[in-house]
Symmetry: C2
Subunit: 534 residues, 2 copies
């Protein structure tokens, strides 16, 4: 196929795969004669096809868990699996490998964007090239089915109905990991998938530092006699009005509504097809107005990041957030550092009172601040206060390790879950729907993703500190209700780069030092000591 044939791999040995396809580069004709211009054109052609597939697949996945009829799940899974086979064939062909090798050896001739495209495509290719296509597509099929099975199981509070899916997912994810790197720990492989350059050693250290601060702090808070109330926010809030409020929150957060499709789903998420199209899927529960507000701000933060990527990256592999940790840093930034701040409370209170004049017309911003930050050990991660939040994540991180190492099976999870919630948060898990079935992640193959929530929270604290040190009047901006200066700071240093720069590198540049969890732990100590008068 090419003079620059890479060594044989799992992918390349597979007989069932074609060797040329639309968007795939031709082998260079005169052996050894470089033609960088043709190679760059071939790179752009490859990117166009990958873009079209990405656009179709992200849409199918997003609509799949929001608006598609459940009866169509298997048909969608089949279509997604086939499209993914095509992507993998496109990216993993020897011709594509040779093209990327030639281009990466000729970076002097590339623009910085092209050089980044080559680097990211090589990384993406490396993660797929050794995985047999039938293994990859069987995982896709399994995850489409199990996403629906989880929805039903959660609805029925029936862990046993989900159990066989989780065992199969773990087995399949271990299998995929073994193809990627047979000598590495499979869980490390997936941690690295969602956050490049992380592994259990990294997260063990990180969670160790966080636990050392949070556990004693939580104990102090729980001993404190200061009562923080949330009475104005109890009771039922009309769901139609809550959806109106959701639209107002999108605007307050600074999103361009004309580019957002706001829809409903069981487990909130957001995604971006291009910088012109973000999907925010949330639920709205009648008896949980406050949780809905912060969920919306969280998903809106993800959408801000997706839509803040340089629009010229739209049709390339550089589109999207650079890592899940950095993504969660943005979502939790707007949920917490902005959303749960005292400075922003008056603006948030205005938006809430606009839709609920009767129920919230007399609430004060301080009541909102207090209610939004009241520490309460309860079973739901997405409704957790900032202090207990990392402990919810830690529970999942520990159970994922046991599953991926084979030390636990799906049937052990409810007990592991209950024991850890008892020991870290001091609470009893009421049932599986509010226990191990609460999150959609495992059902959609996101084992290894949870730790990025805590990591992202910590990145956010460090970014906020850097903003303020750099002269940004953080509280003043929040109080003004016009978040543009915060957007601009983040856009300049993080968002616009999309996948062209790594998390580590951007933190270093934005903050002037490498990542450190101390900003996060200091923030928690300061905020909750003040709130609880410790």
């Amino acid at each position: 196929m090419s003079d620059n044939q890479p060594s044989l791999t799992g992918f390349e040995e597979s007989a069932s795969l074609p060797t040329t396809l639309p968007g795939m580069p031709d082998a260079p004709s005169p052996a050894g004669v470089p033609n960088p211009k043709a190679d760059i054109a071939a790179l752009e052609e490859l990117e166009r096809h990958l873009y079209a597939h990405r656009y179709a697949q992200i849409g199918m996945e997003c609509y799949g868990s929001t608006i598609d009829p459940e009866a169509a799940t298997q048909d969608r899974g089949e279509a997604l699996a086939i499209l993914q086979e095509e992507d993998q064939a496109l990216l993993c062909s020897p011709a594509t490998g040779a093209l990327l090798d030639r281009l990466s050896a000729a970076t002097a001739l590339l623009t910085p964007t092209q050089a980044a495209q080559v680097r990211i495509l090589q990384r993406d290719r490396a993660s797929q090239v050794d995985v047999p296509p039938e293994v990859a597509s069987s995982l896709t099929r399994l995850l489409t089915e199990s996403g629906d099975a989880w929805r039903r199981a959660k609805g029925a509070g029936d862990w046993a109905a989900f159990e066989p899916y989780l065992d199969k997912i773990v087995a399949k994810m271990r299998e995929v990991a073994s193809y990627r790197n047979a000598s590495a720990d499979p869980y490390d492989i997936w941690l690295d998938e969602y956050e490049h350059n992380t592994n259990r050693a990294f997260y063990d250290r990180f969670f160790g530092e966080v636990k050392d601060v949070v556990v004693p702090l939580l104990a102090d808070v729980q001993k404190s006699r200061r009562p923080l109330g949330r009475s104005p926010f109890e009771g039922r809030f009309d769901t139609n009005r809550q959806w109106e409020m959701a639209r107002d929150l999108v605007r307050l957060e600074g999103l361009d509504e004309r580019k957002v499709f706001l829809t409903t789903t069981e487990h909130p998420f957001s995604d971006g097809l291009t910088s012109n199209y973000a999907i925010i899927a949330c639920h709205v529960r009648e008896n949980d107005v406050l949780a809905n507000v912060f969920t919306m701000l969280h998903e809106g933060g993800h959408a801000l990041y997706e839509m803040g990527v340089d629009p010229s990256f739209n049709y390339t592999s550089l589109k999207g957030g650079t890592s899940m940790g950095m993504h969660e840093a943005q979502s939790r930034f707007f949920e917490n550092y902005v959303g749960r701040s005292l400075a922003f409370a008056p603006r948030l209170a205005e938006v809430m009172a606009r839709q609920f004049r009767g129920q919230l017309g007399r609430m004060t911003p301080n009541q909102l601040y207090v209610a939004a930050n009241r520490v309460e050990a309860q079973p739901i991660r997405t409704e957790a206060d900032e202090l207990t939040y990392p402990l919810h994540v830690l529970v999942r991180y520990e159970i994922e390790q046991l599953l991926m190492s084979g030390e636990a099976a799906a049937s052990d999870v409810p007990k592991l879950w209950a024991d850890r919630y008892k020991s870290y948060l001091g609470i009893n898990v009421p049932n599986d729907a509010r226990g191990a079935l609460q999150d959609t992640h495992w059902a959609t193959g996101l084992i290894g993703y949870f730790p990025t929530y805590a990591f992202g929270s910590a990145i956010g604290a460090q970014l906020k500190d850097a903003m303020i040190r750099g002269g940004l009047d953080f509280d003043g901006v929040c109080a003004s209700g016009n978040l543009a200066p915060i957007h601009e700071w983040l856009r300049e240093r993080i968002w616009r780069y999309g996948r062209s720069r790594d998390t580590t590198e951007m933190i270093l540049d934005a903050c002037g030092e490498p990542f450190s969890p101390s900003y996060y732990t200091s923030y928690l100590v300061e905020k909750f000591s003040a709130l609880y008068g410790l």
Copy 2:
């Protein structure tokens, strides 16, 4: 590539296209040695890839005009154009041509389904193989843009804003037609696209017969002094309740709700991704409850057909309706022959009164029947009574001919439109939004589609006659509110075959004779003579 190289064509001459791709058959290895088993496997593989693309593309197009943000139009158009390039490459490659040729020469070894797949794929291939890919994809891009331009132009009632798009669409559709068959009339090519084996000669004859009956009948109706009122249905009807009613109508029509996504759009449509997933997109206008009811029944009829196709065709090219005329036969069957019948009126009245007890609680089924059938020359096609309906279609058919022959440009359309509405229907067109901008078809490249609405109505009348002659108690079934016997009759003779049989053939088998417009004209004469006491 293969020993069975077809002659060079526009497609095959194109240098920019790859020659092998995922799903494309390999060249048979030992020259001349047939291997039908491998060929059949290659056929299934080809179908799988075409299926995945079709699933993605139908979804993108449906969501595009319903839920996607307008800001994303261009990005979606680009993705669609690229996917379509891939489809065309897959279907039109010489290797695929050779495979289909080999299979069609070995039909004795194929199941009837496989033989039908080969025949339909050959037909699809023939319609694309001579069109240069860049011409096909530039039409896709243009249509995605113009769909949005039309929506804006209609909103603003601004024909001039849409004019340049229509001129470009006509030019591009003429160009595509010229590649398909340089010696044929370009309008005939597109008529055949939407209804196989039809052309202007066919439709001229058909509309001639219809006009000879409808024009004098309409004159008699307009002279009649019998006043048919619609007072209970005037006024404003809450749109939320109308959406609830739409769900009830879906159920009454006999659709499986668990397989339907019901959503909102400017111009109603429906489509089917597989037999497990139909999309029905309608609008609901506060002051037009009756029009909404019949629009819903119409789109539901399309969905019944899509979901009635043999489920084993889901992942093949046989999925979907066989032609637009047959599709409209189903939609207009449930809209009119069932929906606007006296026998069905009590069941429809119940559903409407359930949501609008105050406004419609005292309406009688006869009032509903009369209001649904009152003849009124008015400017909107989709709101037309059955008698004036074919005249609305005729206006469009005549203007399409002038556009496609170059005798008229887009700027001439408003006057052509006004003149014909005056002459056929005796009314003045109030403005372009309620005139030439009312329908989305031209903006989405459906020039040549309109005639199938009238043709479909006529097929429906013939099918209804055959049902009754065959012993089905049509009025009794309608009166029972359980339409299953009608569904089964149509499923058995039409729906289940998907694209595996042609319209002509199915009419012949179902009715025992070839298509004839006389059932349609007799039905109109009988129904409206009775209603107006002629």
